[in-house]
Amino acid sequence: MTETLPMTGANIQVNAVGLSKNDYRGAPSTLCQGCGHNSISNQIITALYEMNITPDSVAKFSGIGCSSKSPTYFLNRSFGFNGLHGRMPSVATGGLFGDHTIKGVSLSGDGDTASIGMGQFKHAVRRNVNMVYIVENNGVYGLTKGQFSATADVGLTLKKQGTNHTMPIDICMEAIAANATFVARSFAGDPKQVKELLKAALSHNGTALLDIISPCVTFNNHENALHSYAWGKDHEAPLHEISFVPARDEIMLEADMQEGDIREVQLHDGSTIVLKKIDKDYNPTHRWEALKMLEEAERENLLVTGLIYVEPGKPSLTDTYDLVDTPLNRLAEADLRPSRESLDTINAMMF
């Protein structure tokens, strides 16, 4: 049944499951030119292609906003649900029960997640819903043309809004506080890191939160703003250089990585994320360390990127339900409707 679309010409490059990169693409983007979100969409396409994940084994979910529009621009051959503002997590939670073999690739923004959707975001994280949860974070409302979001930094001045005096929400900290099992931050201007983190996130069983600073070229790209390209480039302090090693492949370390400088984190499917330390002995499996590091980075005005926290081995939401092997949505009446005799018993029980 896993049929591929007919290929045009023989020399189109295909991956191990016989699909070309085109099979992972979506409609042309209608977001602004230069929007960080487009670059993230491209990395999603590449990561899935390189990991040989078939489009039918993922489902896209999103809320409302510029970020939530972006699932249109990748994975045409995957099912998708573009729901309500701030409510992507609940739809994904229910939507992933239909076929437990499917992984969610969910797109949200800082408004969608940290303002209107804060509750659902934290509860999905707490439940460990089996999805990659990407927050395309630009500190601003784009579709309604430039209002502050809850992640906007203090002192930011926007054209019509004046200056923001309210403390921002740190999405990664919130996720860790909600017992997240995978938390990473990246910067849309660092496509290699985005891709490697995406691959690790796709291999993680449970909610993998990716907070990707994705500058808004139209409404929030002042040189000194946290969510701008210029600031991000200058202040980005990667925790590690990251290489993702897929499961079953022999783990080959790059030649320049020295013993003692690397830390391997094995993900549930046997794949490994290899972290090369930059400047300190950072342990991403330590919750307290992760929070401390985020706090220190904020004081030092640094944009820390990389894998901040991971707890592999925790069951995902669908795991905890111990479902039958057949996807629930393929069960037939015989599996679902109890027998006539059982109803007789029930009636006899009703006094």
Partner: protein, 652 residues
């Protein structure tokens, strides 16, 4: 005591919330039911865990009329806080039992008064652990009442055995208290009131259950696969019953599960999850009440517009706002009918009894998948949380209807040519695929934004209009699938009564009273769904005056009928009232009488129409056997009632 009143009165217990009296009251109810006497029990409780007054009122009626009775004939007062009120409200000639440690003046001389030394009787139970004395003390009044009105003690034992699931220790302990009460009463009280119960056979073949349990079971027999919910009175026990029965009824040898139930963080998430699951191809539901329903509104609009099957049980309570959380109402009807912003029309089912809660449990899941739309089932607190006698639950007579779903094989046959929102069959219902379908052309991107036949984003005017027209057509198609109303006719009827939901018992009784006491004969149509089916229009066309019974302030069913049948608006008379109490025959009857106009006999509908209606009535009755339990009880008893009507009238 010159005349005995047998099997026709109410028993009201005034007690304190959280004092454990519900076991005692349920025991009385169940014992009466086991004696074969038609009976109902209503728990009139406050929004409180412990301490506020609460009442339990039982209606016994040999003729099968079991709506709440406005008059209190037998009263058991064990709450000092409501003592004065309980005493004041009892009917002249009534029997007043009270706990004798309540030292409050009793000035009434028109009732029979029985002090009950409950504490003393409990003290004499030497085997009873001190910590259980308060709980078991409620059983003493059960025993005293049993002795005084003639309840069978073995039926009380049966009720206790049921309640304690056969566990010997609590059964014995409680039954000993019952016996002690009965023995004390036998030795010390002299019967002065006329109220007696005697065994009958009118509950043969019936069961006793509450609507929320029936809803849960019905959904499970409908193949429920996913439920998400958030606790709210009075809907909580729908989800709790699902949690209790799903594991038992869908057990598998390998111990794995074919379903998932999630307690969500709020109602927004509950319906969001249910919609996600519905989209992913699961039979999915959520259950809630007014405030939760308000939160679900945006999602309800999305599911309507994006065409996601889902069932929402709304166990109505009294609004607006937090309102009266533990009181019943039919106040959500118009809200749900248009639930969502923009042009929205929702499909609604209106069960009229506990057995119909079961039936609509599985039917709603069929309908939602057939129509690819949310289906709302509007029950209420009275039906959902109180014990009702009803027909045994009937096994679904049809196979599960999974609607228009395309799998890999179907798409191969179609060569992959399909559009998610194409109206291929001309009935407004499109075809859908669900995640996991591995055909390369199976996927689509569902969105709440404007979309074309292929689910692609579109702001084009013709595309928008076409889609909205199709949705309207689909709503029209729904009329073919929703349950038809139930028609009860009376020879020589001059008026029509139109009602729905839990007012059924009150309307049936009021209809009988109007006939016997006032000579007004009425046909009765019980509407069971929105959109209105053809039978509703015919009923309205056939009658000069149609009294529309609503348990809300605005007359919401009346409003909807007026919108649907504007030309008949002047013949639709609204009888609307909502105070949070379960409907009684009195308010229905008096509501009709207050607006009663003798129909002008000039313009009678022609014969053709009449036969048409009769045929529809017959069809409705044949097609929907579910409503027969109470109907059967009523009609079979009617003959006797007519004969005895002078006697019963004399008493009133």
């Amino acid at each position: 005591m010159d005349k005995r009143i047998v099997n026709d009165f109410s028993i009201t217990v005034g007690t304190v919330n959280g004092s454990g009296s519900s076991t005692a009251n349920n025991t009385i109810l169940r014992a009466l039911f086991k004696m074969g006497i038609p009976v109902s029990g209503k728990n009139l409780f406050p929004s409180n865990i412990q301490g506020l007054p609460t009442w339990y009122t039982i209606r016994v009626n040999k003729d099968g009329f079991v709506a709440r009775h406005d008059e209190h004939e037998v009263v058991i007062a064990i709450n000092p806080g409501s003592f004065a009120r309980d005493l004041a409200e009892i009917q002249p000639g009534g029997a007043f039992f009270y706990a004798d440690d309540i030292k409050q003046p009793i000035t009434r001389t028109d009732i029979s008064v029985y002090p009950m030394p409950i504490k003393q009787i409990v003290r004499e139970q030497v085997d009873l652990p001190t910590n259980l004395r308060d709980l078991v003390s409620n059983m003493v009044y059960v025993g005293i009442l049993a002795q005084m009105i003639g309840m069978d003690l073995d039926k009380i034992l049966a009720a206790l055995t049921f309640h304690f699931k056969g566990k010997e220790k609590p059964i014995t302990m409680n039954f000993n208290a019952v016996k002690a009460g009965a023995e004390w009463a036998k030795a010390n009280l002299e019967k002065k009131d006329p109220f007696y119960v005697e065994p009958m056979n009118k509950t043969d073949g019936l069961i006793m259950a509450d609507g929320n349990l029936a809803a849960a079971l019905g959904s499970i027999y409908g193949g429920l696969q996913f439920a998400a919910w958030y606790p709210i009175t009075p809907a909580t026990s729908v989800a709790e019953s699902i949690n209790e029965y799903l594991p038992k009824l869908r057990q598998r040898a390998d111990g794995k599960h074919t379903y998932a139930v999630v307690q969500a963080e709020d109602e927004l998430a509950a319906i969001g999850m249910a919609i996600g699951a519905g989209w992913s191809g699961l039979r999915s539901m959520t259950s809630t009440s007014g405030p939760g329903l308000s939160l679900m509104t945006e999602f309800a609009g999305l599911a309507y517009y994006a065409e996601v099957p889902i069932v929402v049980w709304d166990v109505q309570r009294m609004g607006p706002s937090t309102g009266l959380p533990t009181r019943t109402s039919q106040g959500d009807l118009t809200f749900v009918a248009f639930m969502g912003h923009g042009d929205t029309q929702q499909v609604i089912l209106l069960p009229g009894g506990v057995d119909e809660c079961f039936e609509f449990g599985w039917k709603a899941l069929d309908l939602a998948e057939r129509l690819q739309t949310p289906v709302f089932v509007l029950s209420d607190l009275d039906m959902g949380m109180n014990q009702w006698m009803c027909r045994p639950f009937q096994y679904p007579e049809t196979s599960m209807d999974r609607g228009k779903v395309l799998w890999e094989k179907d798409l191969e046959d179609l060569k992959g040519i399909w559009g998610r929102y194409q109206d291929k069959d001309g009935d407004g219902i499109p075809y859908r695929t669900v995640p996991g379908n591995k055909h390369p052309l199976a996927a689509y991107f569902l969105r709440g934004t404007g979309h074309d036949d292929y689910a692609k984003y579109s702001e084009e005017v013709p595309v928008w209009l076409k889609n909205m027209d199709r949705l309207k057509k689909k709503h029209e198609t729904a009329k073919k699938y929703v349950p038809a109303p139930v028609l009860h006719t009376t020879k020589g009827a001059t008026i029509g009564i139109l009602a729905y939901g839990s007012t059924e018992a009150a309307v049936q009784e009021a209809r009988h009273q109007l006939n016997v006491q006032h000579g007004i004969k009425a046909d009765y149509l019980r509407v069971r769904a929105l959109p209105f089916t053809a039978e509703v229009g015919k009923f309205i066309a056939k009658h000069d005056l149609i009294y529309v019974i609503d348990m809300n302030r605005e007359g919401q069913m009346h409003q909807l009928l007026t919108l649907e049948y504007p030309a008949s608006a002047t013949r639709l008379v609204s009888v609307a009232y909502g105070d949070g109490m379960p409907a009684s025959a009195k308010w229905v009857r008096e509501g009709i009488l207050a607006k009663y106009k003798r129909p002008v006999a000039t313009k009678k509908p022609d014969r053709v129409k009449k036969t048409g209606t009769a045929k529809a009535a017959k069809k409705a009755a044949q097609a929907k056997p579910a409503s027969r339990s109470r109907k059967a009880a009523v009609t079979s008893s009617k003959k006797k009632v007519v004969k005895k009507s002078s006697a019963s009238k004399a008493r009133k």
